[in-house]
C-alpha cells in the first residue's frame, strides 16, 4: 500500500449525502478483469444521455478536472462493498475524501488502499464546504496526516481527528496481511482450541 503522508490537490465539492458505490463505480455491461478504473469513476454522472460529457458534473468542470480531494456529505460510500469505488478514486489521483461520515465498509476499503477518509464535525464541515465552493478550484488545499491539518486558501487551518491506529496504518503504508501474519501462531493455536471446543466449526464437509 502506498503510504500517505500529505496530499496537495484541488478540492472538488460534491455536496450530497449518501453518495453510493453504484454511483462512484457502476457495474457496466462490457467488463473485463482489467477494468479502466480511471474512466469508471462516476461514469454515469459524468455523461449525458447521448453519451457526451455532462459539463455540469463537478469533476467535468475545467477547474476540477484534476481534483485531488473530494468533499462530500453524510454516509459517503453507502451500498455495495465493491472496492472499485476506492480504486477509481486513486486512479484519478484523488487521495483524500472529506465527508461528514462514511459508510462502514467503504471506510475500511479506504484504509486498505491509502485513501484518506477525513471526517469533519457539522460546523467545521459547513464552513469547509462553503470555503471549497468559494475557492472554486482556483488554488489547491493540502491535507497533512502528520499534523492532522487541512491548509489552503480562504481561511485558517482546519484540524481533523482520525483514530491513531488508522493514522499509523496509512502513514506507514503497512501491509495489512503482513501485520496479521505476525499472529499466525495465535491463529493456529485458536484453531486447535476451537477444534476441541466446537469441532464442527473447524471442519466443513459434505456429509453425503
Amino acid at each position: 500500500m502506498q503510504p500517505f503522508t500529505s496530499h496537495t490537490g484541488i478540492a472538488a465539492p460534491l455536496l450530497k449525502d449518501d453518495i453510493n458505490t453504484d454511483q462512484i463505480a457502476p457495474i457496466l455491461n462490457a467488463r473485463s478483469l482489467k477494468e479502466d478504473y480511471k474512466a469508471l469513476l462516476f461514469m454515469r454522472a459524468r455523461q449525458r444521455e447521448d453519451g457526451s460529457e455532462d459539463p455540469n458534473f463537478v469533476l467535468n468542470k475545467p477547474q476540477f478536472r484534476a481534483a485531488g480531494i473530494l468533499v462530500s456529505g453524510h454516509n459517503f460510500g453507502a451500498g455495495s462493498s465493491r472496492e472499485s469505488a476506492v480504486w477509481s478514486m486513486l486512479a484519478n489521483n484523488i487521495r483524500v475524501i472529506v465527508a461528514r461520515s462514511f459508510a462502514d465498509i467503504y471506510r475500511e476499503n479506504c484504509l486498505q488502499n491509502g485513501l484518506l477518509p477525513v471526517v469533519l464535525g457539522p460546523e467545521v464541515a459547513d464552513a469547509f464546504a462553503a470555503r471549497v465552493v468559494a475557492v472554486d478550484g482556483s488554488a489547491p488545499f493540502t491535507v497533512d496526516l502528520l499534523t492532522q491539518r487541512i491548509t489552503g486558501p480562504g481561511g485558517a487551518d482546519i484540524a481533523f481527528e482520525i483514530p491513531a491506529a488508522d493514522r499509523m496504518r496509512l502513514f506507514e503504508g503497512l501491509d495489512d496481511i503482513g501485520l496479521t501474519l505476525k499472529h499466525m501462531d495465535e491463529i493456529t493455536s485458536w484453531e486447535q482450541r476451537a477444534a476441541a471446543a466446537q469441532p464442527w466449526l473447524q471442519t466443513a464437509r459434505d456429509s453425503r
Partner: protein, 469 residues
Amino acid sequence: MPRTLFDKIWDFHLVGQRADGRDLIYIDRHVLHELHAHHAFAQLEKQQRPVHRPDLTFAVQDHTVATKPGRDDDTNPSGTAFLKAMREGTRKNGIKLFDIDDPEQGISHVVAPELGIVMPGATHAVPDSHASTVGGVGALAFGCGTSELTHILATQVMALKRPKHMRVRLDGRLGAHVSAKDVALRLIAELGVAGARGYAVEYAGAAIRAMPIEQRMTLCNLNIEMGGRSGFVAPDEKAFAWLEGRPYAPQGAMWDRALDSWRTLTTDADAALDREVALDCSALEPQITWGTDPSQVVGISGRVPDPAAIDPSRRAAAESAFAYMGLKPGIPLAGLPVDRVFIGSCTNSRLPDLEVAAAVVRGRRVAEGVVAMVVPGSSTVKREAEAAGLDRVFRDAGFFWGESGCSMCAGGNGDRGAPGERCVSTTNRNFANRQGPKVRTHLASPATAAASAIAGRIADVRQLLSGVA
C-alpha cells in the same frame, strides 16, 4: 457478567489483538463470488502467499451468470472472463466451487445456509455487502471488500474494530400478506440509511420468533441498507430444525454436541446494549419504496410525501428522487402503471418467497405489456420449486422462469430494464441506474411484486386477493 449474543460469538472467535489495536476475529466460513475473487487470487499469487484454510472456503458463480435456460459461460459475454478466472483460481487453490452448471449453484447468501455451510454461532464473511443475510440462522457475518477478502484467504481472520451493539425489537404479529420485507423497509424508513452505521444489530421480539427462517434472512439481508454491517437473530429451536440434516451441517453425535452449544446463543437479560429500538409490527401494511434510496418508503395505501413535509436535510435528495422516479408529491403509489416485475435476489428468492408469489399468481395472468421475471436464488430452490409445480404457475401466468443467480438485482449479468421503465422488484437497492440506466425501481415484497405484475400497476396484494381492485 451478562453478555449479548454478539459478545458471545465475538469473544469466542477472538484470536488476538493486532499492533494497531484491531481484534483478529476468526472466520469459520468464507464464501467467494466471481465478481471480486479473481483480484484476490491474483494478489495472493503475486505475494506468493497460500490460502490458509481452503477447506473452510467455498466459492459460487452468482453475479455474472446468465439466467436464460441452457446458459453457459458465454451466454452473458461480459461474465465469461469472471467465470473462467474463478474456476481457475479455485482449482489452483483447492477451493470447492459451486460452478455455473453445479446442481447446487446459486447466490452465495442463499447457498451457504441452504447447504448448512453456515451455522448458528459461526462467523462468516463474503466480499459482498449482503453477507449478513445468514444472520437469519444465528451466524455473525461481515461483508467486505476485495483487500479484506485477500486478507481472509491468507489468514482466515478479519482485523476488525468491535462495533457497538443495537437491538431491534419487533413486537406484535404481522398481518396477512405482510412479511419481513415490509418490516425491513419500515425499519429503514424509521432509522434511515445510516441508522445502524457502526452497530451490530440483533433482531429480537415476538414478531421475530414467529418468523420462518427464510424471513429472518430477508430481514438480516436488508440490515446493510440501514448501514449495519452485521445483523442476526438469536437461533432457536426453529432455526435448529431448519438446519438439521443439511449436507454440510454437523451430523449424528456432533449435531447433538453443536446443539448444546447453540442453545447458549442468547442475549442475557441485563446485558448492556448501546441502543435499543422497537417497532410494533401489528398495524404494519405492505410497504414499498417511492424514491432512490431504501429509506424512501411508504405503506401501500400511502402517498408520495410532499417535499415541504420532508426534513430540510433530506429535501434535496427527495426532490432529485421525484425527478428520477417520475413522480409528483402527494400522489398515491398504488395504481402507478408498471413495466417490469422482478422476483429474486439474495433478499427474496428462497422457496417460501416463491410460494408466496405463486399463491398470488395462480390462475391469473401477468398484465399485458408487463415483463415479469422469477429468478430462484439457487439451483436447489429452482429444483424444489419445480417439484412443487411453481414454475408452471409462473410460466402459465406469463412470467419468465430463469436459472438462478443475482440477475436484475444489480444487472451484472446483463438482465436489465429499459430506460424509463418502472419496475417493482423484490431486491434490496433502488439506487438510480442500478437495474439499468434510468430504470425506476420500487422495492417491495414478493407478494406485492406478484400482485403488481398481475394488476399491471403497483398493487395492494390484500385488495387483489379479496377481489377489491
